[in-house]
Point group: C2
Amino acid sequence: MIPVGCEPSAFDNGRLGRVARTSTLLTQGTAMTDDTAGTALQLRSLIRADGELELSLQRVPIPEPGPEEVVVRIEATPINPSDLGLLFGAADLSTMQLSGSATQPILTARIPDKLIKAMAGRVGQSLPVGNEGAGVVVKAGASAAAQALLGKTVALIGGAMYSQFRCIAANQCLLLPPDATPADGASCFVNPLTALGMVETMRREGHSALVNTAAASNLGQMLNRLCLKDGIALVNIVRKAEQETLLRQQGASLVCNVSSPNFLTELTDALIASGATIAFDAIGGGKLAGQILSCMEVAINRKATEYSRYGSATHKQVYLYGMLDSGPTELNRNFGMAWGMGGWLLFPFLQKIGSSAAQQLRERVAAELKTTFASHYTRTVSLAQALSPEAIAVYGVRATGAKVLINPSLA
Amino acid sequence: MIPVGCEPSAFDNGRLGRVARTSTLLTQGTAMTDDTAGTALQLRSLIRADGELELSLQRVPIPEPGPEEVVVRIEATPINPSDLGLLFGAADLSTMQLSGSATQPILTARIPDKLIKAMAGRVGQSLPVGNEGAGVVVKAGASAAAQALLGKTVALIGGAMYSQFRCIAANQCLLLPPDATPADGASCFVNPLTALGMVETMRREGHSALVNTAAASNLGQMLNRLCLKDGIALVNIVRKAEQETLLRQQGASLVCNVSSPNFLTELTDALIASGATIAFDAIGGGKLAGQILSCMEVAINRKATEYSRYGSATHKQVYLYGMLDSGPTELNRNFGMAWGMGGWLLFPFLQKIGSSAAQQLRERVAAELKTTFASHYTRTVSLAQALSPEAIAVYGVRATGAKVLINPSLA
């Protein structure tokens, strides 16, 4: 059961009216008649020592904001690829079993024995999930900054978003434009800031064009829009003909399909055309990252006039930002010595560039929320529905384009 | 045949006397009686389009120095692992064939078909070889800097050292201490600056201890001496029990043997003891580089109090500086997202730190030439002997500890 003030059926007549009423209800402190009074649902992921993953909806107290904090009723929170690791751990989803009640389902699955060791750091901890989301500020602390947000629609990041209510520092909220819904702002951070972060990394490390893999993903399409808008050459790597078509329809000129028999030649040509010497790879496993480095080296050497046994002096970089293929990464190292590979994560990147630079990126996201940085969802589900095997079959397979939005305020 | 002035038999009575006489002879321009007058031998490596590698000794004119240049009679030049790539390309050394004369032998070998493509950049070019060496300045340009070196023993770097004479800018010579022979100074640059460069890279990238593989090599032993002297914790990775013994006898306390059944546990313990989060790997291929990252992550997480699905926030770095194993590098990526891997080369590193910092490193090498940075050789050979299958069986197999010195002034 969810708190009265959050019943969506009662508040379907426009954003501001709904917000005001809810806010009032909650700030007055409603006297509930059952033992769920003052509590709300939060999705939790727990891995037991015996290797069982358990996803459940726990009742937790609705938080009280401190002076500088606000409480946001989360109405839209996406299931990003970056959420799946915390959500499912290393569980084998073919072993899923559903139990519990319709409103508080429990989903279990087995972690394969050989993968349990890698999960040791989280065994026994009931962990909240959900990197980002958006909603309406329904309680605010005493400070002016917090009070100013009361009733406003904001986007937020910081984990535990698969919750009906989330308490957060007021200065961490991104105020959305007046015409934006929580669904518009739900994916305000991870994908938009990742796309901007890739371009920013490219610039800061001295490259002028870039490569992205899994390029037909929501993130990939967004990066394509961003690069088109900013006039940056982008080499899009996809694995299916329909993804190639999709990106070309969206204006991409350099699209390479790994399924093509001439993939390496086509990639080399695209690297020559673009001059790209940095790549962002969402796949991680297999040979692709190394192939990108090799083709970059071939592309660079097309212009070389002198032999160097150490390869070109031009630094070639691949960052792995995902692991759609969790198998080993294999590098054939036929790309000289001027190369680098590493992990790329949004939060350490934002920390590195500092709060002022990060704030500029955030402001650009807000300004282009419905254009460059728009996200599209396959379906919207409640917290309980998010634990159904049927929904997991959509969002758990990491299929390009199938993105699910949770609305925790749905019954 | 080698020029008269360079016959070593005529000048075996002490450095300075020998130098003065040779210098005089050469600067006067000796009138030779055969068609080799004014020429000297230079080792060349040529890969033909049909996949044949040819090593030969070519007669080239003895260079005339420009005003700021000197000509050095090379008397000691090492065959470093870093020379083997240019020397042999991708040739299969089991196909070696010797022809030519005793003084100008020609050695041929086949490049396997599948590796010819990688050699395309150098096909048809007769390339001089030899990164570094030392010898006596026998001709000097008009400038004061050049004249000051006349008769002096200097060390130099810059390629083409497998030559009887090498012309070079005076300001690129490292003047050796008066009591140092060319053999003492032959390996002044590559190994000493690489060892110093690794420690400098460690410091500049924010690490406090380091790992080295192939740690019983000449370079590895030097790095061990350097770290002992500077009080830096070094994890030495070797592959044989006798190498472990050798390093321990030289004072190393952290030595891990990949052949041990408990290698990964022992490496993890050494990483905990040292706190090393950066490694330099000479192997390149196989799983070792990835295993080092994995063990670093385990070592770091021993102290972790909170689970992070992205792994520890501590950056872990492996630089590949050699390729003793030219097979693919395999990374299992069970070490979180805060990691990097890349190529590490001495010259780009020196360029990056700038000439003033590089000069400081060079001065330290000169000061500790016979202690920290002393090199040891298995044997000394002439240029012609360097092309014998028997010598190649020693230096071509990249066996730890078997280092060969060429003295091009030997008949």
